[in-house]
Structures are given as C-alpha cells and as structure tokens.
C-alpha cells in the first residue's frame, strides 16, 4: 500500500514562507480553489491557508535556537477527522493515503476540525466547506507535467529542499530513508493518529575529543619517568629550540 507524505527537515527550514505562498497560489487556482481572503487589505485580514510556517524559540538566552516549523495536514494513517464526518465528505484514499474533503458533500459542520488535534482543517468562509492540504492531488498525478513537476507545490517552492515528498510505505524511498536515518518523528504521538508526515530534527555536527588525543599517552619518556615530566604550562622543546 502507498502512503504519500511530506518529510520536513527542521534542520534546513529557514522560515522563508515560500511554501506558504506557493501552496496558496497553486491551490487557490486549482481544483481546491478559490481559497478566498476576507478583508485582505484591512486591519484584520484573514483567509484560508493549507500550510503555515510558524517560529519557535527553544532554550534561554544566550543558548537559544530559532526553529521554523511548517505546519499542514499530516495525512494521518489513522485519521481521527474521517470517522466523525457525518456525511462521508472526509475520506482517506485507499490508493495513496491522502486525506481529502469532498466539497460537494461537506455540510460545514466543523466537527472534523474539532476531531483533529493538529488544527489542520479550516472552514473556508466563502464556500462554507472544510478545507485542508490535498498534497496537491491535482498536481502529483498530472501527466501533462514533467515528472519533476509532479510534486506538491510547497516541495517545488522550497529553496533549501527542506521538504521531501514520497511514499513512506516504500522502505527504499527517499522519505523512508530520511525518516529512518535522520531521526524522523511524528507530531503528538500520544494520540495514536500515526501521522504520515514526519519531521526531521535539528542536527549538529559534534566531535568528541578524548584527552589522550591531545597528549600522547604512550610517550615512553614520560611513562618511564627517566626524565622529569615537564608541567603542562612549562615550555616544551619546540618552544625553546629552533632545531
């Protein structure tokens, strides 16, 4: 079985919001559209978005890290939003695991949004139906596009390649490899929703230097104590001679 998903690398995301605008642009003009804004130039603008990038600060000054956190529907393998839908408008596709909303069946009761712990669903104020990330389902299967273009538009937009797209059920796919080998994790695992989207943690390159790597432990002169061992702060032979 296939389960398409995004893997988002928090180590690489720079919070540029390109995925947010690219998602909105593609989907407002695609089959999910329009994703209308209310009061876009007023004091309190609002509108429908499938994808947002948030920013968190981890730690206390001066040891802080800024984490940019892209957030969209996680296409859970056990989606709690689907069984609660009274009309069957919310469904999870068997063939690729994408969770979708049938806009012609949705009655706009908002119950699925209550049932999603991640807040991934939004009611479109104009169309009065529930909307959410479609993984660009109208794009990834579009055979008129080149293979390179058949990816969600957020993935295409990311300038740092922080977003990977693929089948997490295929153990050899790039996303599975990333999850397995770079510590990919799901959000809020405590609810048993088994999100398909995974996040890769911040990673730092560190080396561990042992003391005997700085000072030769097998120096025969020092081991045998035939000569007095010079103190660490005394000049060495290198300092006093020119050879």
């Amino acid at each position: 079985m296939t389960q398409l998903a995004l893997v988002i690398d928090l180590n690489v995301c720079v919070g540029c919001q390109a995925c947010v605008t690219s998602c909105k642009e593609w989907n407002t003009s695609g089959s999910a559209g329009p994703m209308v804004d209310q009061n876009p130039y007023g004091t309190d603008p609002t509108g429908t978005f499938f994808n947002r990038v948030q920013t968190f600060e981890v730690g206390e000054f001066p040891n802080t890290e800024t984490v940019h956190f892209p957030k969209s529907c996680l296409h859970c393998e056990d989606p709690p939003c689907v069984p609660v839908c009274p009309t069957g408008a919310s469904y999870k596709r068997k063939e690729d695991g994408i969770v979708l909303v049938n806009y012609d069946k949705c009655i706009g009761c908002k119950y699925c949004s209550w049932a999603c712990p991640y807040g991934a669903r939004e009611l479109d104020e104009q169309q009065q139906v529930m909307k959410k990330c479609t993984l660009c389902v109208d794009r990834i299967y579009d055979m008129t596009m080149t293979e390179d273009d058949r990816k969600p538009s957020c993935v295409k937009a990311c300038p740092t390649s922080a977003r990977l797209f693929g089948d997490i059920h295929d153990p050899e796919s790039a996303v599975s490899l990333a999850i397995r080998e770079s510590g990919g994790y799901p959000l809020m695992p405590e609810w048993g929703t088994h999100p398909a989207n995974h996040y890769l943690p911040r990673r730092k390159t560190r080396i561990k230097i042992h003391e005997d790597e700085l000072e030769r432990a097998d120096n025969p002169l020092k081991v045998d104590r035939q000569l007095p061992k010079p103190a660490m702060n005394e000049p060495t032979l290198d300092d006093v001679t020119t050879w």
Binding site: P45, T55, F56, K71, P86, G88, C109, P117, G119, V129
Partner: protein, 325 residues
C-alpha cells in the same frame, strides 16, 4: 473551544424536550399501575407532547445555524456506522416522530386495547409508543453527549460523566418543565413530577460537580514539546505564521477573560441547582408561577452550563496558536 450558540440552544432545548417526554411517560406508567391518579390524557399527555415537539423543532432549527451548508443537512445521516453526529441526525427526527405520534394518540383519545399483560394490565398504542419514545430519548441523550465524549484529545469532554451530565441535566429541566406544565393541566401530578425533578436535579448536581472536580485536575497530555517534537523544557512561540486571525484562532478559543469563565461557572452552579431546588420544594403542591420560574431559571442556567462546557474544553491545536508575532 468557542461556544456556538446554535449548539448551545440545540443541546439544551432537545434535552428539556427529552426530559419532558420522559416525565410524561413516567407519569403514564405510574398511572397505568394505579400508583398515580389518571390525569386528563388529552390535555396533559397530548398537549405536553406537543410542547416537547415545539422544543425539539426549535432545537433542530437552532442546529441548522451551525452548518455552513444547511441545504445539504440530509447527507449527514450517511455515516451512522462511525459518526455519533450522524447517529444523532437519525435519532432526533425519529424521536420527534414518535413524540408526535404519542401526543397524537393521546390527543385523539385513541386507546384501543392491543393486548393485556399477565397482571390484567391493558396495553394501548400510547404505551407502545411511549416505550419506544423512551428508548429513543435515551438513545438521543447518548448520541448528543457522545459527539463530545468520543473526542479523546478534548480531555474535558472525554469522560462518561459527559454522557451522565447530558442525561441528568436534560432530564432535570424536562421534569421541572413537566411539573410546571402539570400545575396547569394535571394538578394532581405536580407533587410527583416536582419530586422527581428535585431528585434528578440533585443527581445532576452530583455528576456535574464530579466533572467540574475532574476537569479542574486534568493534566494536558499534549505539550509544546510533543506538538513540535523538540525535547526542551523551555520553548516559546514567536510567530504563528500570520498576523490576522484564522479559523484556528476563532473556532478553538473562547476569547473571554478568566473572570468571565469563573462568573459563568458560578452562575450556572447557582441557577441550575439550588434555585430551582428551592422553588420546586416550595411549590410541591402547586403554584404555576413558581414552577414556571423554576424552569426558566434552570434553563437559563443550563444555557450558561453549556457555554461553560464548550469554553472549558482546551483543544490541543491551541498549542500552535499562542503568539501572533
């Protein structure tokens, strides 16, 4: 959660209607066993059922205001295998139909003896409709409450106490209404109904207090650490990704100060329990005005109770929306 008045009116109005119907049929059952005097069936059961029906219709109308596409509401009966909301959508009209038929049978004084129970008790259509209506009334309470109780990450709701509260609080307001109604149409039943209203209100006080006690001590399962998956005791949100509002900031936050929440809580604790209890006890033997005030006060209290029920629920998605910029 943001309390929606459509849902507040839906749940309180149909709760009172279900309680009223249960009160009518309880009285009929007692009277059938000669434990109560036989009231004027035409007026008490017949008109009482229509009163219940009016409340049910009002609740149903209120519920439509919650929908983005009310014209598609018929579709919501489809997923009854998995969705409690869908089950409610089926049970509510079925219950309305039975209340209508039950009231109609009494209104038309249609009491042909269909069969006789072993004790020589005659069974007429109203008894059968009443038993079916009682089952559906309880089924509807369970469906309505399970809509909330089945959402496991809303821990304030995810408890059997939610179901017990819906049954007892709906029952209490319905029996209080029945007592007030009986003081006009069947005075000989007032003390019986007011007595049961008192008992159910007291039971409701126990179960609602239990849920308030439980909810005050809940420890949230989700934290900012599990929400973004970073193991650090100090994480602060710097932006939520937008400056204006969104569905996420409107639907899941009540936006009221803590003092408002506390005020509503104490208002409903006083208006749903002690005030109606005193009024019910003082009007045990009649007093239409006092009983009507008891119902009105209790119903207003239940509106506040339901508002608080929604406002108190803290959705885990709120972890992602703590700072605008």
């Amino acid at each position: 959660m943001h309390p929606a008045f459509s849902v507040i009116f839906l749940t309180t109005l149909i709760g009172a209607a279900q309680g009223l119907f249960l009160a009518l049929f309880t009285a009929q059952s007692y009277a059938a066993f000669k434990l109560l005097p036989q009231p004027d069936a035409h007026a008490f059961y017949g008109q009482g059922s229509f009163l219940a029906l009016v409340l049910l219709v009002a609740g149903l109308v209120a519920s439509f205001f919650h929908l983005g596409h009310p014209e598609r509401a018929w579709r919501s009966a489809a997923m009854w295998r998995t969705s409690w909301l869908s089950r409610e959508v089926i049970v509510l009209p079925a219950f309305m139909g039975l209340v209508f038929l039950y009231g109609l049978a009494h209104w038309l004084d249609w009491h042909p003896v269909l069969m006789t129970l072993p004790g020589g008790l005659p069974v007429d259509p109203t008894a059968i409709l009443g038993v079916a209506g009682t089952l559906l009334a309880f089924a509807l309470f369970i469906c309505t409450a399970m809509i909330y109780a089945c959402l496991k990450f809303l821990s304030e709701w995810h408890s059997p106490l939610t179901v017990v509260n819906y049954i007892l609080l709906g029952g209490a307001s319905g029996f209080t209404l029945a007592a007030a109604f009986a003081s006009v149409t069947a005075p000989e039943l007032v003390s019986f109904l007011a007595g049961w209203a008192t008992i159910i209100t007291l039971l409701g006080l126990v179960s609602r207090s239990a849920s308030l006690y439980r909810n005050a001590r809940l420890k949230p399962k989700s934290t900012l650490q599990t929400a973004i998956g970073i193991k650090h005791p100090r994480i602060v949100q710097k932006t939520q990704g937008f400056m204006g509002g969104s569905f996420n900031t409107r639907e899941f936050f009540h936006g009221q100060p803590v003092a408002m929440l506390r005020g509503v809580k104490w208002f409903f604790i006083v208006a749903v329990f002690p005030v109606p209890l005193v009024l019910l006890l003082s009007a045990m033997h009649g007093g239409t005005a006092v009983l009507a005030v008891a119902f009105v006060v209790q119903y207003l209290g239940l509106l506040a109770e339901r508002w608080f029920f929604f406002a108190q629920a803290n959705h885990p998605q709120n972890l992602y929306y703590q700072s605008i910029a």
